[in-house]
């Protein structure tokens, strides 16, 4: 592995780790776009620091000098956002938009002034816009690591107050914690993390470095500590992927690849994370729909059987479908689950199907009895609610309700409440 690649890899990973970890607080406090504003507000600071540096005769591109300038204006930007939202009727979104765009405009003005100076040193200052990880030097990475260590160290030391601040600021205040002080500290850390990323991914993409890994980590856990660790890990992985992929070929910029990698991680997390995964939710919903479909079909069989007392009798498909218009998909599903079987051209409930049908009808009618007796609902208001509840009530609850109602034999409409399958 070449020295350059190692440098870029290290820089991108340090950035991913600290931005990801800190981003958790931005995401949980719903300040996600603050990072975006801070990154844009850092641009004029970089240019001012450069101008100041060349005027005073320092190395105008020293990473510490530029980072210092970025910190200053990003800080001022934050204060202005707070000031605008506190003293005017403008909401936070407008305040963020104003600071973000005006500071960026000021940055552009300063950038063109710097470029107009014709100073050979100025080359590369515009790389702060979109980042140029490939240009990272060993020195840059050392400065970045030092900043990252400060950020992560502060996170560790002030973990408890930060946690309180995120989840219940009022409670924190009532415990005597200086909420304002920690808020300021947290924003300052965010500013530092943003400044870290300017050289690597640039001001525009920095918002994603904070938010995307944290949003991905949120899908896997409800615990803050774990979320921070995961977000740091995702950020590092995205950084590594970006550095690696962009080294494979020319003309692949690192910053965008890092952001796209983080986005891919988020998409994967959204789909397959164990409890919140959309894929599982989709499967569950499908399974539930199928279950409702099948149980409704079984109920239709039962209703027909109640008319002619023929619970095990084979019936024509058209008769069953006429009850409420069940679809043939329900028939296929019920057959493959073993609730009904084909008898010639007709359909017949199996023993298993009969038991399930009895249970669903029982759930439905006991729930109706409960609503009527205990909640005094009118008889014509019972059915629709029972249509939903019959599929979700479990046996234990139903037996408790049954006992509480004194084991009624009939529902409010006078229809018998079955107890298990008929002999």
């Amino acid at each position: 592995m070449s020295e350059t690649l190692l440098t870029v890899l290290a820089g991108a990973m340090v950035l991913g780790l600290s931005a990801g970890a800190l981003g958790c607080f931005a995401v949980l406090r719903r300040h996600s776009l603050l990072g975006d504003a801070l990154a844009h507000a850092a641009l004029p600071g970089v240019c001012l620091a450069f101008l100041l540096g060349s005027w005073a005769g320092f190395d105008p591109k020293h990473p510490l000098l530029l980072a210092g300038g970025a910190l200053c204006t990003a800080w001022i930007g934050t204060l202005l956002i707070l000031g605008i939202t506190r003293t005017t009727r403008l909401k936070q979104d407008a305040a963020i938009g104003i600071v973000l765009s005006v500071f960026f405009g000021a940055g552009m003005v300063l950038l063109t002034i710097v470029q107009g100076m014709g100073n050979a040193q100025q080359a590369g200052l515009d790389k702060f816009l979109f980042g140029q990880a490939a240009a990272l030097t060993r020195n840059d990475v050392i400065v970045m690591s030092a900043f990252a260590a400060v950020v992560l160290g502060a996170l560790l030391v002030f973990y408890r107050p930060f946690k309180l601040l995120v989840f219940d600021a009022e409670h924190a205040a009532s415990l005597g914690i200086r909420v304002k002080r920690y808020e300021v500290l947290l924003v300052t850390l965010m500013v530092v993390a943003v400044v870290l990323g300017l050289r690597t991914v640039g001001v525009v993409l920095m918002a994603a470095m904070l938010v995307t890994p944290a949003a991905a980590a949120r899908q896997w856990t409800d615990r803050l500590g774990l979320m921070i660790a995961l977000a740091g890990g995702f950020g590092m992985a995205a950084g590594a992927a970006g550095a690696w992929i962009s080294a494979l070929e020319a003309r692949i910029p690192t910053g965008p690849i890092i952001v796209l990698s983080a986005t891919a991680l988020l998409l994967i997390s959204l789909l397959v994370s164990p409890r919140r995964g959309l894929l599982w939710a989709w499967v569950r919903r499908r399974r539930n729909r199928r279950r409702v479909r099948v149980e409704n079909l079984l109920k239709d069989f039962w209703r027909l059987a109640e008319r002619d007392n023929g619970y095990g009798r084979p019936r024509a498909l058209s008769d069953v479908m006429a009850v409420r218009g069940a679809v043939s998909r329900a028939v296929d599903d019920a057959e493959s689950t073993g609730f009904i079987r084909k008898a010639g051209t007709q359909l017949q409930l199996t023993d298993k199907g009969l038991m399930r049908a009895a249970r669903v009808v029982r759930n439905h009618r006991i729930w109706e009895a409960y609503l009527s007796n205990r909640l005094d609902l009118a008889d014509d208001h019972l059915h629709r609610d029972a249509e939903d509840m019959e599929h979700v009530l479990d046996d234990e609850v139903i037996e408790q309700i049954d006992a509480a109602l004194g084991h009624p034999a009939k529902d409010p409409h006078g229809r018998p409440i079955p107890r298990g399958a008929p002999a």
Binding site: D36, A208, L210, A215
Partner: protein
């Protein structure tokens, strides 16, 4: 027309076109949707360019605007899964699309005639150079396009004024009255997308956010009424375009950037000095209110209990000097008078108290 004038007019047209949807973004609290759209149309522009080989063709405008709407759709879809909050959805979606745009840009910029700087930052100074022939006249294309955009947006605001107003201030009533909030939302964000794309080659992806939001926010601090707010926003925007141009000439710096800075300056001015919403006005109003209240308290005390001047400070437990000042003011105003060694409230004084209490 001189070149300078064309540049100023282009900036003003851009500001007017942006200010109209901008007002609704600010009022609806979705300013950052404008931010997201303006960044996210980048891949649309690049892809459309790669297909049509031109930045000026109508397909570019349509294609890129479609990506703008796609951005809004993606943000809403992500929010609706309830796995990611709205602010985080915005911060996730637009950088991803922007990254895609930069990637495409860098990939193809070298061997196609596509200058990343030009697409990202725009160059309003080129406005006089990019000309089209229309009806036998030679016009500046960006000026022409942005004038059309401003006119379209103006018509949009006038035609849908009632609907936009109602759905902005009372979304529930608007929905109940049969205006689809979703349709209006997409209509508005569609207008934002079109305007952003039209502004692209002049002011670039990021500064267009300033054109959208800053004049609208400034106007919002000056008025409570939607109609005047729209007019003021357009006025602030075009004034800033002119001031910005002069600033850019003076500093020899980025014109679009200077226009943004001018907008920021106007906002700052209004923020400090606006009659009702301004920081200064509020401060003065508060001080005046405090003073009137203090005066009323002194009179009220004297109404209940005529007191000798030296006993007043201990009775009210206020600092001696403050009481002396207040008594002097009240005496010159004729609200209190000295009668046999004690201070008493006059009729005018009692009237002043009931005026303050009301």
């Amino acid at each position: 027309m001189s070149d300078d004038l064309i540049v100023i007019l282009t900036g003003a047209a851009c500001a007017i076109a942006c200010a109209i949807p901008g007002c609704f973004l600010v009022l609806r609290g979705i300013s950052l949707i404008g931010d997201a759209i303006s960044h996210a149309v980048l891949p649309g522009i690049v892809i459309a360019f790669l297909i049509t080989n031109s930045l000026s063709a109508w397909p570019v405008v349509i294609g890129a605007s479609a990506v703008g709407l796609l951005t809004v759709f993606l943000i809403e879809t992500l929010t609706r899964t309830r796995r990611v909050k709205e602010d985080a959805s915005i911060a996730v979606v637009f950088p991803a699309l922007f990254a895609l745009g930069v990637l495409l840009l860098v990939q193809y910029a070298d061997y196609r005639d596509l200058d990343p700087d030009c697409v990202l930052h725009g160059e309003i100074l080129h406005a006089p150079l990019m000309t089209i022939e229309l009806f036998g006249a030679t016009l500046s294309r960006p000026l022409f396009v942005l004038t059309i955009a401003a006119a379209v947006n103006l018509v949009f605001a006038l035609v849908f004024f009632k609907e936009l107003k109602l759905s902005t201030f009372d979304a529930g009533l608007a929905a109940a009255s049969g205006f689809s909030p979703i349709l209006l939302h997409y209509l508005l964000t569609g207008v934002v997308s079109l305007t952003t794309v039209a502004s692209f080659e002049s002011v670039g992806a990021i500064l267009v956010v300033a054109f959208l939001i800053v004049p609208a926010a400034t106007a919002y601090l000056l008025t409570d009424r939607l109609g005047p707010m729209l007019v003021l926003a357009m006025a602030v925007g075009s004034t800033a375009a002119y001031l910005g141009f002069e600033l850019a000439v003076a500093l020899d710096a980025s014109v679009a950037g200077s226009m943004t800075v001018a907008m920021g300056g106007l906002f700052l001015l209004v923020w400090l000095a606006a009659p009702r919403e301004g920081v200064l006005g509020r401060f003065l109003r508060n001080r005046r209110r405090k003073e009137r209240f203090a005066l009323a308290l002194v009179i009220e005390h004297l109404v209940r209990e005529p007191t000798a001047a030296p006993d007043l400070a201990p009775a009210l437990r206020w600092p001696e000097q403050r009481i002396t000042e207040l008594v002097a003011t009240l005496t010159t105003r004729g609200h209190i008078a000295e009668n046999a060694g004690v201070l008493v409230a006059t009729k005018a004084g009692s009237e002043f108290v009931s005026d303050v209490v009301d």
